[in-house]
Amino acid sequence: MASYIVRRLGGALIVVFGISVVTFLLVYAIPSDPARMIAGQKASPQVISQIRHNLGLDQPLLLQYLHYVGNLLHGNFGVSYIYNQSVAVLISQRIGPTLLLALGCWIAELVIGIPLGIYTARRARKKSDYIVSALALVGISLPVYWLGLLLLYWLGYKLPIFPLGGSGGIQSLILPSLTYGITGAAYYTRLLKASMLEVMGQDYVRTARAKGASERRVIWRHVVRNALIPVVTFGGIDIGYLLTGVVLIENTFNWNGLGVLSYEAIPQSDIPVIMGTVLLTALVVVVFTLIVDVIYAFVDPRIRYS
């Protein structure tokens, strides 16, 4: 197991390396000049070239990349041009809130999506199935920022039930999670429904019925447990995706996390921050896929014991 994980992480490193190269090239191709951003609109050209020199931006690209990687190997992510702080510190401050938000969003998706999945699977091809499925689809068809603003406006401002954004505690977590939950639940609903329908046609479900198990018992003990297996896979990929994809939510809800950090870094050409966040999220995505594999083994004994 350990060696496997090491190997997988090795694969992950290749991925992360690929990403680092692409990002680096990409960021350098952007015409905007970080030194100008640091100096401000009105600083003189001398100051700017001084800053470029101080940052090493006047060196050849390859050298800069090697330098970056060299620093990386020493655990040094560099210093943000914009925040004037170590990228490691910036990220470590924000990864917590982002993880919290991602978790909240994920739980909301599950809490909405899974019961709907079970419901629609049990009423497959009935009117209620179509209505609920269509509603779930409406959810994924909504732009998250659009829904987010409407919810904020109506539930935060007009009826001040929830705080108007901010990265505070559980209170301010509810609305963004709900927003994301609504726009993401249908993926789970759809997946779980398909997987439940498949499981319900399995022989062992018939076996359970033949033992005299009630419908409720059949669904919960025999169907749902098995049907959740593909959902788990998706869940892991989804939470990885969530980490990279919370930008819009973070922006809409004033949540100071990694998403906003990286999102703002691009137009400001804050290369160390871009590189740091991109590499980190990529790593997190890969790690989550790995975690899923491990969780998978717990859900599915066929994998655990072979």
């Binding site: 197991m1 496997y4 491990v294 998978y296 083994a297 994998i303 655990r304 072979s306």
Partner: protein, 322 residues
Amino acid sequence: MSEPLLRVNQLKKSFPIRRGILQRVVGQVQAVNGISFTLNKGETLGVVGESGCGKSTMGRSILRLIEPTSGSIEFDKQDILKLPKYQLQVIRRQMQIVFQDPYASLNPRFSVEEILSSPLEIHKLYTPKERSIKARQLLERVGLDPDYAGRYPHEFSGGQRQRIGIARALALNPKLMILDEPVAALDVSVQSQVLNLLIDLQAEFELAYIFIAHDLSVVRHISDRVLVLYLGKMSEMADVESLFSEPLHPYTQALMSAVPIPDPDIKRERILLQGDIPNPANPPSGCPFHTRCPQATAHCSQVVPEWKEVKQNHYVACHLYE
């Protein structure tokens, strides 16, 4: 005796076993472990054995649908394992395979005509028009209405599908057909139709068959010689009469006695084997059958029995006959 059409020598195939989420190679399955035999023109070799004993692997290896690990396969005096891939095409016109599952072996998206003309198309034989005529002739040959040519596989019953599969194999006028449990999925009433067809075709085209099955009565019905496999190894091979009248290997004996006979009056002494087939990934030492053999001795668990011709044309690998 005429020159053998096919000469298989020490054929071996092992699969790596990958396990779990780790997908690590945890061992090797010796799916086929040293099989040698010859097959003459127009002859049928029945291959029997329990599930997982390597019958299909053997069949597919002969066609090089699976790359064998070692051994040699001489077909028409050419070692096909040494042929470069592009020359395989030529060989493949002469060897064909019919699969067990008539539902999985036909492309659901092709009409019957397309299925039957595709071998000709692949080998660039005939014009499209001629191919279509040829396809109809093939249908007729296997006892189906040529008007069915435009239909799709799902519109046919299992038996009919199996006929289509056979027709496809026939399209290139092969000399050898490997029949991998061609009737296992069919009902008895249909099974007999297909068996009859196969027998007729063999007579007509001088086909050689390797007939893989686990139903002994079918094998007995169609084969000239029978090869019994156990855990990837040959345990017994003989002419069909000799084998069925006087099975030598305790495994063959058990196998035969286990076949239920559709006659309530025949009450047989049954050899009930203990336990299950061992895991092929972890085969027993010595004689692979010793774990279940009612006559096993300590010797059997240590020494691999030799493959010996005990009687004329009757080979067995068992310590009882040394």
